[in-house]
Structure formats: C-alpha cells, structure tokens
Symmetry: C3
Subunit: 424 residues, 3 copies
C-alpha cells in the first residue's frame, strides 16, 4: 500500500486546490481511480444551511517583480504564494502598499504561510518572513495575479458501499487545501485506501459512506442535502485528517461522547497497544464541528496522528512530503479498517441456548475428558461469549470484560453461527 500511497501523493501534490474550482475537480478525478466517487456540483449562490455557496475561483498565474527586477512569490513555483481565493491584480505599487497585502509567519521564518480569504474579496501574497525582511523598502513593485471569480459550482465527491443493513458508517475527509501534506493530503489518501479495504469485506453488515468535500462549506453543502438522512441512519462516523505524520495517535471524541463511534475507536486503540491520546470534542477542529452541530448531533469523532495546530509546520509550506511517513499513513488506514471490523462484529447477540450453559461436548466443541489442565483459551472465549449473548450486552463490552479486543472474537462468533448457538 505504501508505494501506491506515495505515487498518488506525488500526483495530487502540485494541484492548486481550493473550496471550488478545477484544482479541486482534478483532485477528485484522480482519487476516483481508487474510490468510485459520484461527483456533486452545487451551484454558486445556493443557500446551504446558514451559508451560501460562493462564486467559483480560478487562477492561472501570480508573481511580484521587485525593484531590482527579480520575480518572487511565483504561483507557478508554489501555489501557497497567492492567497487562496485572491482577486486578480496587475499594477505597480510602493512597498508600503504592498506590505498590506503580504502575509508571513514569524514563528517559522523560513516557511510560506497558507492564507485564505473566501468570504471577503481582496488580493494578497504569502511570503516567508526571511524573504519579506530582505525586501527593499524603496522603489516600485510590480504585482500580478491572473485570477478571478465567476458563477460556477462547488464540487464534492461521495461513494457508498452497501451492506445488508441500511444503518450507516461515515468516513469524511476534506479536499480544499493546496500543496500541503499532512493537513491535507494524508486525509483523502487514507480515506480512498480505506475504501478499498472495506470494499473487500465479505457480507458487510453496515452501509459505508465516504465523503470527500471542501472543509466547512463543502461539508455544509453535503449536510444540507444528506444531513437528515444521516441523523436517521448513522451509527458512527469519523473525520480523517492529519493521518500521515510520524507522531502517535490522537482520538478526538464526538460532542455527545460516549457515542458508538467513540466507544469503538477507543476500544480499538486500547487493544492496539499503540501509543495514543484521547481528547474531548472542541470546536477548534475540522468538519466534526458541522457533523456534531446541535441539530444533527451525529456520532462523529476523528482519529488522527498529530492533530492540526499541534505540529509546527501546520498550514505552511513546510507541511510537505518530509513531514509524512507512508508506512505511518498505511498504519492509520489499517487502524481505521480495524474500527470497521470492530463495528461489523459488535452486536447484541442472542444465544439459542439461554438457560444453563450449552453442552459443548455433544457439538464436538469440548474436550470430553475434564481434567486439571485449564480450559483451553478458545473454549473459554466461546463460553464467555455465549454467557454474554443475552440480547442486551454489546460484544464490545463483553470483549473488554474478557480483556481482549473484540476482533479476537471473530472466530468464536463464526463457530457459534455455524453451530446455531446464536440467533441470526
């Protein structure tokens, strides 16, 4: 998986994504090679919940020419150099005026910061603090941005894997940041590859929904169409972001914790024995803000590695490939896959032999000769499972009481199903 992840990363990296536009569309098209996305176009001006879809943004070029005739802040070299959603501009200005349109970031003087201005029209460039400090204060600067806004649409992608039940699991990720690696490309990549793994699960119980949308406004657009459906059908959901750095895991709980999403994710993390931290819901985050808003109040958490704002390169040009580990990214995908397996397995099973314990001997499931050797692990697990198959207890809780991961009960559930020791 790692090799493939890297190849897709390299293809997606140079595109200038935004909350609308062709960079976004091309990114979704490339991701469609992995996950068959249905693309939705929401026209500019459409009211979506408390918001409105903005005009579509296009950009072709952007640069500054210094008084010495040097071209800097060239969009073609790094798409972070132009403020995302900037207006076009073509004029000559003095440093004083220019400075009001330049953004830099003192905490990381070598990095170009990532700046957006979606809802107020302005033009601007982003520049490293070091480069900014070296600019001549005298002379004329030529500023040029070939960009603009037009009526168009916002695009988001969606894929659904049907299961035997119409109860749903959601995996949501955002696609709107230009060239940045952990936040954001790790998210769409992990989600796409997770799709492949879940598609391979046989006899899926759950229906899985995968959403690739611009952050905030894209998810608001998605919710304005599908939010009520989710409120009725969703059992658990997760926002995938910051999935690929080398740090340990962080799980951020849903607002109405403990939801099913939380209980499953925390169980899987606990028994994964991987280093991790659990944090409570807070609004300073990503699209869980929308999913957990009071009207929907969905059971949506977020399993990350190092969260946004917790690593210094966040929202700068330094959040690049060097921040990532593709094996760490693959590990995140696998952990999400374990969550899906746990969700598939977790249920309130009901035994067909509720009164007294089942006689395993006559079913060939028990040593016929009782002796002082301790009951074999698998038999103990089976009896434990049956003993808790009371139609009320979630297997997750029964497994925790046994002291192991729910996924270790898969074979026991299978055996009991074959011997008709549990109801369908």
């Amino acid at each position: 998986m790692e090799k493939e992840l890297e190849q897709y990363f390299d293809r997606l990296w140079p595109l200038c994504r935004s909350i609308t536009g062709d960079g976004l569309r091309e990114s979704l098209r490339i991701l469609s090679e992995i996950v068959p996305l249905e693309l939705h176009e929401v026209p500019s001006g459409t009211a979506v919940l408390d918001w409105e879809i903005p005009d579509e943004w296009w950009i072709k070029a952007g640069w500054i020419e210094t008084p010495e005739g040097k071209k800097i802040c060239n969009f073609s070299e790094n798409n972070l150099h132009v403020v995302n959603y900037s207006e076009g501009v073509d004029k000559t200005v003095r440093f004083e005026e220019l400075a009001q349109h330049l953004h830099h970031y003192a905490d990381l003087p070598g990095a170009v910061p990532y700046i957006t201005s979606y809802y107020k029209r302005r033009w601007g460039f982003c520049i490293s603090k070091n480069e900014f400090d070296a600019l001549p204060r005298e002379g004329n600067y030529k500023v040029f941005i070939d960009a603009g806004h037009k009526k168009g649409s916002l695009t988001y992608g969606e894929a659904v894997l049907k299961g035997s039940s119409d109860r749903e699991i959601l995996f949501s990720t955002y696609v709107c940041h230009p060239s940045m690696a952990n936040n954001e490309l790790s998210g769409p990549l992990a989600t796409a590859f997770l799709y492949k793994q879940i598609a391979a699960i046989k006899n899926r119980k759950y229906t899985y929904r995968f959403v690739f949308a611009p952050e905030t406004i894209g998810v608001i657009a998605f919710l304005s169409r599908s939010g009520m459906h989710l409120r009725e059908k969703l059992d658990a959901g997760y926002v995938l972001t910051c999935c690929g750095d080398k740090g340990s895991f962080t799980y951020k709980r849903s607002r109405k914790s403990p939801t099913r999403a939380d209980r499953i994710a925390e169980h899987v993390l606990q028994y994964s024995t991987k280093a991790h931290e659990i944090i409570n819901f807070a609004v300073g985050g990503s699209d869980e803000r929308q999913y957990c808003s009071p009207g929907y109040s969905l059971p949506v958490g977020s399993l990350m590695r190092t969260p946004y704002k917790k690593y210094p390169e966040y929202h700068t040009s330094f959040d690049n490939k060097s921040v990532l580990s593709f094996s760490a990214l693959a590990e995140t995908v696998n952990l999400y896959y374990d969550i899906a397996r746990a969700l598939e397995l977790d249920d309130r099973y009901q035994t067909t032999v509720p009164f007294g314990e089942p006689q395993l001997g006559k079913r060939g499931l028990y040593a016929t000769e009782g002796d002082i050797v301790k009951l074999a692990g698998e038999t103990r697990k089976l009896l434990h499972f049956i003993s808790h198959a009371d139609g009320e207890t979630w297997l997750l809780d029964a497994a925790a009481r046994f002291g192991c991961s729910i996924t270790e009960f898969a074979s026991v559930v299978q055996t009991c199903r074959e011997h008709k020791l549990i109801r369908d």
Copy 2:
C-alpha cells in the same frame, strides 16, 4: 462592605438572642435596615410539623454571689453566663447543689460555654473551667436569675426579590444565638449583605427568598408554612453559617447530591481557585437537616468557611470578634453572589442555527481572513457555546468542558442574544 459589616456586627453583638423573645426581635429589626424583612410571629403552642412552638422566654438579669460576696456569672457582663431559656431562680445554695447547675467546658478552660435548655425547664449558669475550679467548696452561694416564660410567639424574618420566573433560590440563615461571632452573627450579616448585591442584579431570572429564623424550631415553623411551596418551586438553596472566620471554604452537599445547588456551588468554588473542601451531607449540622428531610428533600447545601464543631472556639465565649475577619466575611458574600450569577446564567440554551455552524462572518463576528493565527479566544468561546446550545446541555457543563467558569460566558451569551443566535 467590610466597614459596614463591622458596624452592624458591633450593634448586633451585645443582644441576647434566643429562639424567641425580644433579643431576637431587636436583632431582626436591626437587620431590616439592610434587608426589608417581613416579620412573622408564630404563637406559642402552635403545632409546627412534629414540633410545638414553646413559650416565649424573657430575661433581665442573672448572677451568682460567692461566699466571699463576689458577684460572678453576671448576665449583664456576658449573656452566655445564664443558660439560654433558663428558669428564674432566687435562693441560697451550698456548692454541691450549685455545681449541678453549673456548666463548664474542660477542653477550653478559659471559655464560658454556650448551653441551652429549650424543651426542659431548669435553671443554670455557664462558667469557665478555670473560674469553676477556683470556687470555694464551702459557704453559701446566692443565685439569682430574673427570667421566665410566657405565652408569646416565635419570630422569623423573610424577604423576597421577585424575578421574571417563579422558580426560586433560597438563602437561609439562623438568628438565635446570643453573643457569638462566627457561629452565628457571620451568617445573618452575610445573608443581609448578599441581599443587597442580588437586589442590584438587573433582569433577574430567579426569584430569591431570604430567611432569617431561629435554628431548627424557627426553620421548622417556616417550613410548616412554606415547605410545600418550596418543594414545588425551589431550584437551589443554601444555609449561611460560619461565614466569617479566617479559614478556607467548605461546601456541604445537599442530601440528594448532586442537586443543582451542589453542582453550581462546586463549579463556582472550583473556578474560584480558592482553597476549599467538599463534604457530604450529614445530620450533624444546621438547618439543612430540615430542608433536606425526606418529605421536602430540597436541593439545599451550605457554603461555609470553617464549619461548626471544626474550630475550637465553637459554642463558647471565645467565638468572638477576634475569630472573625471582615474581609473574609465579605469574600464569602462575594462567593455567594457568584453562585447567584452562575444560577442566573446557567440554562439549557437553544441555538436558532442548529444545523451546521453559523456563519459568523456575515454577522460581523468573525475575522474574514482565515489565517494561521489561532482563532481568537472569544470567537472560540462563542462557537463552543453555540455548539452546545442544543436545548439539553446546561451551560454549566459546557463551560466546564471549555475549562472555565460559567460566569466567563456572560458576554458570549449576551452577544448571541443580540444577534438572535439563541432563542429566548
């Protein structure tokens, strides 16, 4: 406030209060200068719950003349010298008989103890252990108490501050101890000054009831009239006692903890960063015994400084002005005021924008230029507030989840109200 507190203290100190009588009435009259008390007179013999209002007690003088002709235990010097509710007496006795009517306190040999005998007629004096030990064992003692009982009434005072709602908050204190400072004068003083502060709150939501009654029997009389009303209307209540010593705070929970009273008081204490201890309900206390009795089971706790029985001077002549700090007493009043403010603010708010987060930009509540600078504290607080304004979550809990006192949300609530982001 401290100067005023001290002035009232000095005026109230010398009066000989008891559970009935003119000392009690005069004390309530002085307190009426601060809080407009309605005075209730409950006639002797009236059945109140399981009890009966006793005859009214009067006292004019009391002393012992020793065999050497020295006047000791003089009521006019310290009203603790005569057992509260003592019968009158005027006779000559030998030491052996006298000793059966003398009370002293070995643990604090220099102090005159405080003794009462409300429900059994007897006469008696209180004397320090040191003075007792020095009494001649031979010769005649003259004992004189000019006191007695008569049909009359028990007096208690009550004041109500109406709010927009008929839901109530109760502050109850007792007035029946003669010259003692922390237990009891700190209680009525704090309650009276708290009244002034709460009266100044604009647009009060709650109706506040202030009760000044003799301990036990007075509160029982009050409850026999108003208990059922409180059972229906009371949201939280507190017994004010031991409010003025120099120790740290103790909050005693209501019997059915956690009640609203407990949750608010513990929250306020926690975020006050003042040293404090939380203790569970127990019957060895004050009037919370009556309020929390099973039939009413009211949400009434007690925020004190050093509780009764926990400081050595308790119930002796040593519980005098030197035990008090008027700035500590003012601090207690302010903490109770914070409790009232927290109660006013605490609610299950409901946002008018429940689906997705509100677009703050179009309301002028958000920076239009998203950048790497962290979301400003006030905006984060506002989004956190809206995110929990689901009509179910108490603001108290949302504030605790944010990690600060509910009172720090006052301006955010105000802003949201102005922008119609919450329902009325």
Copy 3:
C-alpha cells in the same frame, strides 16, 4: 462449630462421590442430619435444559498389578485412583497401552490428580507423576476396575426456610467430588452449618433456599425444575465453594453486577475489615455459570476463600484435610451469616415523620439539654437513619454514607420501629 465441622468432615471424606450414585446419596444423607434436605431423584435420560441426565455410575474396586506383582492405584486406598465415571476393565496390557489410560500431573509430581469422564465412556487410572515415572516399561500389567453404568437417577438435595415474604435468597453448593477437602467438602459443610444459623433468625423476612447438587449437571437439573421460579423470586444468591482454606477472602461478582447479591456481599466484606479481593464474573468457575446464564441471569455471586485453580493442590489428592482450617471454615460461615443479616436489614424504609426532623425529646430519645458535647453516636445514627428513610434510599447506601456496616443499624431500626418512626 469447629469441632462439629471437623467431625462431619471426617465422616464425609472417605465416600466416593460422583455426579450420580450411592456415594452421592450417602453424602446427602449425612448432611441431612444438619439440614433437613428434601432429596430429588432425576431419572437417567431425562432432558434437562440443553443436557441429558447420564446413566448412574457404580464402582466397587479398582487396581493395577505391576509386572513385579505389586498392587498400585488401589481405589480402596484412595478413590481418586480410578477415573471418575470410568468403565469397568479386567485385562492384561503392556505398558504402552496402559500409559494411554494413566493420568498424572507434572506440576505436582507427588499428587494423584482428579480426572473425570462423564460424557465419554473410557477406563482409566490416576497416578502420581513420581509413581508413574518409576513404573517398569517392560512386562505385563493387570488392570482391574469393577465399575459400570446403569439406568438410575441423579440425586440432589434442597431445603427451604420460609420467611414472611416469598422473595428468596439462595445458597447453592455442589456435592460430586470424591475425597477432596477445600474443593469440595468445605462447600457443603459451610452451607449446612449456615442453614442452622439462619434457621435461628427470628421473624425472618426472606425465604431461604439451600441447594446441594452435583456441579453443572445437578444444578442444570435443579434449574430445569426451579429456574423460572428463581427468575421471578430471587433477590440474591451465592455459590459456596472453597470455603475452608487458610487464605483471605475472594468475592466473585454475578454477571450482571452490581446486583443486590454483589452490593450486599461487598458491603459486608468491606466493613468486616477482613482481607479480601473482589473479582468480576468469568465463565471459568462453578455453578454461577448456570445461574448467571442469559436466560436466568440471576443475581448470584460467590464468596470464597482461595478460589479453585488459585491454589496448587486444587483437583489433586493434596487437596486434603491439611489444606483446611476449621476455624477459617467457621469464619466463612459467619461471614455468610452476616450477609443474611444484612439482607434482612436492608430495605427502603419510610419514616412517619418526613417533614422536618422528628422531635426526639418528646419521645425520650434525646438529651434535653443541648450542649457542646457532640451529639451521642446512637442519636446521630438514628437521625441519619430517619433522614434517609425516604422510601427510596436503601439502608445499605445510607449506612455506607455514615461510614459503617448496615448491621450496626439494627438497634436504630428496632428503636424506630418501637416508636413508630418508620412505617411497617
């Protein structure tokens, strides 16, 4: 009690018990001298829940003659030497064949292990590892077991002590192991002597049921008859096993913990100040597996000393009288008796004076002279009791809040009953 316990132990020890047969019947007959057991015979072949009553086993003799003519594994010397439920055999075999029918236990090389084969017909002997290793590998062995199976019945015993209520408490123990001391004889002995103590309680509230049955199949037979009755009537139950060793106590919770059984047992243990451990329900145990099976889900736990499998001598010939302490066994009986006393006392009492506290003075229950002496312990306990007699709070919880065992409230409950301060 200790002397008597030892006498009965000595009489029960040599009998060869099994899940059916005359050794079992004779054991129940001897126990009937202490507890008047009603004996139930369940015929071979009867379907009981998911199981079937097996044929009855009989055995008269068993031994091996070595090539040197030495008689070993003699059933008449130690009934563990023949596999319990072994078929008869009478032939001459080589060592290789014999070895397949010999059971030994490497962890305890000097001990004869305890082996059963109830549901598969085979013959076999049990031998210490040391003796096994010393057997000649050459020459002929004569093996002889005079045993067999026949249509008959499984026997279990039951005794009921009626109380004023038809709500029930269950004490269940098993009788099916041959000569072993802590597991099992300590169990039936403790249960029988507990019966005597409970029979002496006057005015019992609860109905007590005592069950002496073969482990697993015997309790399954009992449940097939009485399980639905218990599901309706049982308030708490306990499995008595491993009651007599010198170790500290272990309480194993019921599956649906916290049940009434758990809460009472843990409370009694806590305030007993005896060293103890609390463990959760797990299937690797005894008859609580049946009682807690999902269909019945009874509130049945198990208070033991050192549990099965936790002491090295378990299920071997070394689990003999030397493992026991009869004073420890008596202590276990007394602790179970305390549980019964706690159950009798625990209730949701309702005071007849719910509004305000009762005036104890007029009932002669209070010092008439209030003074600085702390409220006497018994009066405080009484007021605490009344204060929690709200018809909702269990006395168990009120006692814990007071910081003492529920059994210390016995006299206060009695006093309140006499003074009609609580409803009947």
